[in-house]
Amino acid sequence: MMLIDNKKGWISWFNPIKYGMDRWLFALHRLTGIFIGLYLIAHIFETSNILKGPLTWNNLMVFLDWPFGVHLGPYILSILLLAVVFHGFNGLRLTIVENGLMLTKPYRPDYPYEPKSLKGWNLGLKILTAILMIVIGIIGIVYIFTGVLL
C-alpha cells in the first residue's frame, strides 16, 4: 500500500483562517516572537556601531530613521512596540492558562458545543491584553512620532 504524507507543514501555522480567536493569537504570538527575536539580533548589531565612533553612529541613526530616503523609522518602531506589547501580555496570559489556571472546570458539553476553555477568565485576559495594547499603543506611538509623552 502506497501511503503519502499529508502533513499540513509549518507554513500552516500562519494560516489561522477558519478556526477561532485563539488560533489567530497562536499565529500572532509565534510571528511576533520570531519578529522581536530577529529585531533583538539586529538591535545588538546596530548598537555595536557605537564602537566605530560618533560620525558612523549618527549616520546610521539618520539612515534607520530615513531608510533609502523614506521616513519609515517611526512606523517600524510602532510595529515593534505593538509586537512586543502583544507578545508580552499574551505571553503572561498563556503562562497562566497553559498551567491550567483561571480556566473553567470540566462541564457538560451542550450543542452547538462552544468550547468554554477559550471563554470565561481566559477571554477576559484576552480582552485585557487588547485594552493594554490599545492604551500602550496610543501612548507609545504618539511618543514615537511627536516626542510628546501623554
Binding site: 478556526y19 473553567t104 457538560r108
Partner: protein, 281 residues
C-alpha cells in the same frame, strides 16, 4: 388512521452545488488532484450524502470512510470548506456555499481519496494507557465514585476518536511524534478519574519531548471537535497536574471498593481455576 408527519420541503431539490473533492489513487497518481462534481441538493442532505450521491451517480471510484451516518462512529471526519467536520453531521445548505471543497484530514498519511490512515491516532491513544490502572488486587465489587467526582472527567469520555482534532492542531502540522489532543485529553480523563492509580505509569509518556508541553493552546482542536470534548481544556488541566507534581508531588487517592459481591467473588474463583487449568496444559 395513519399519522403523517409533514416536513415542509423535505426531499425537494433546492439547488445544485459543486463538490470539489481531492482525489488520490495510490495505484495511479503520484500526487493528489481535485475533481469537480455537480450535486443536486435536497433539504436535509449532508456532505456525506453528497459524496454518496457522487459515488452512486457520477464516479463509483470515489472513496470515503463512513459507517453510522449519525455522528457517533467517528469515521467520516474530513476537511469541508477548510475546516475539520464530520461529513455526516454537516448540512450542505447550512454551509451556504455553491462550492463545497472536500479534503481528507490533514496531518495523517493518506491511503486513498478521503481516507486517512488513522493509525497514528490509535497508537498515540494506546500509548497513554486509556484505562483504569490499579495496583491492588482484582476488585470484588465496583470502585465507588461520587457523582461530583464523575463530573471531573465526564465530558472527556465523549470522544469518538474521529481524529479531527489532530488534523486541526498546528503542532501536529510539523511534529510527527506529538501525542496530539485526543491522546492527551484521554490521559487526563483517566488521571482525573478517582478510581485510577496510573498517574506515575503514564508520566514518562506525557512528560516527554513530544508530550503535553508541545501544546500551544491554539484551541483549534476544541473548535473543531464534533462532540464538544474541549481537548484543549483537558491538556491545560493535565499540565496543571504535572506542574503540581513537579513542585509539590501529586498523589492519587484510590477510590474505595464497594461492598463485596458474592457473585463477583465466585466469578473470580472460577476465573482463577480456569487460568490455573490452562497454565497446566
Amino acid at each position: 388512521m395513519t399519522v403523517q408527519v409533514i416536513l415542509k420541503g423535505f426531499g425537494e431539490v433546492v439547488k445544485e452545488v459543486t463538490f470539489r473533492v481531492r482525489r488520490y489513487d495510490p495505484e495511479k497518481d503520484n500526487t493528489p488532484k481535485y475533481s469537480e462534481y455537480k450535486v443536486p441538493v435536497k433539504k436535509g442532505m449532508t456532505v456525506l450524502d453528497g459524496i454518496l450521491y457522487i459515488k452512486e451517480h457520477i464516479d463509483p471510484s470515489l472513496s470515503a470512510r463512513y459507517s453510522c451516518r449519525m455522528g457517533i462512529c467517528g469515521s467520516c471526519a474530513m476537511i469541508i470548506n477548510g475546516k475539520e467536520r464530520l461529513a455526516c453531521q454537516t448540512q450542505i445548505l447550512e454551509l451556504n456555499k455553491d462550492l463545497i471543497k472536500v479534503d481528507p484530514l490533514g496531518n495523517y498519511n493518506l491511503i486513498k481519496d478521503l481516507v486517512p490512515d488513522l493509525s497514528k491516532l490509535f497508537n498515540n491513544h494506546k500509548s497513554v494507557k486509556p484505562y483504569i490502572i490499579r495496583n491492588d488486587n482484582p476488585p470484588t465489587a465496583e470502585y465507588l465514585q461520587k457523582p461530583e467526582e464523575r463530573e471531573k472527567y465526564a465530558m472527556f469520555t465523549e470522544c469518538i476518536l474521529c481524529g479531527a482534532c489532530l488534523s486541526a492542531c498546528p503542532t501536529m502540522a510539523a511534529d510527527d511524534l506529538y501525542l496530539g489532543p485526543q491522546a492527551l485529553a484521554q490521559a487526563y480523563r483517566y488521571i482525573a478519574d478517582s478510581r485510577d492509580m496510573g498517574f506515575e505509569e503514564r508520566l514518562n509518556v506525557l512528560d516527554s519531548k513530544h508530550g503535553v508541553w508541545r501544546c500551544h493552546f491554539a484551541g483549534a482542536c476544541s473548535e473543531v471537535c464534533p462532540k464538544g470534548v474541549d481537548p484543549a481544556l483537558a491538556i491545560q488541566l493535565l499540565r496543571g497536574v504535572l506542574m503540581k507534581n513537579s513542585f509539590f508531588g501529586y498523589k492519587q487517592v484510590p477510590a474505595p471498593v464497594g461492598k463485596e459481591r458474592p457473585t463477583v467473588v465466585e466469578g473470580l474463583k472460577v476465573l482463577e481455576e480456569k487460568i490455573k487449568e490452562s497454565e497446566k496444559k
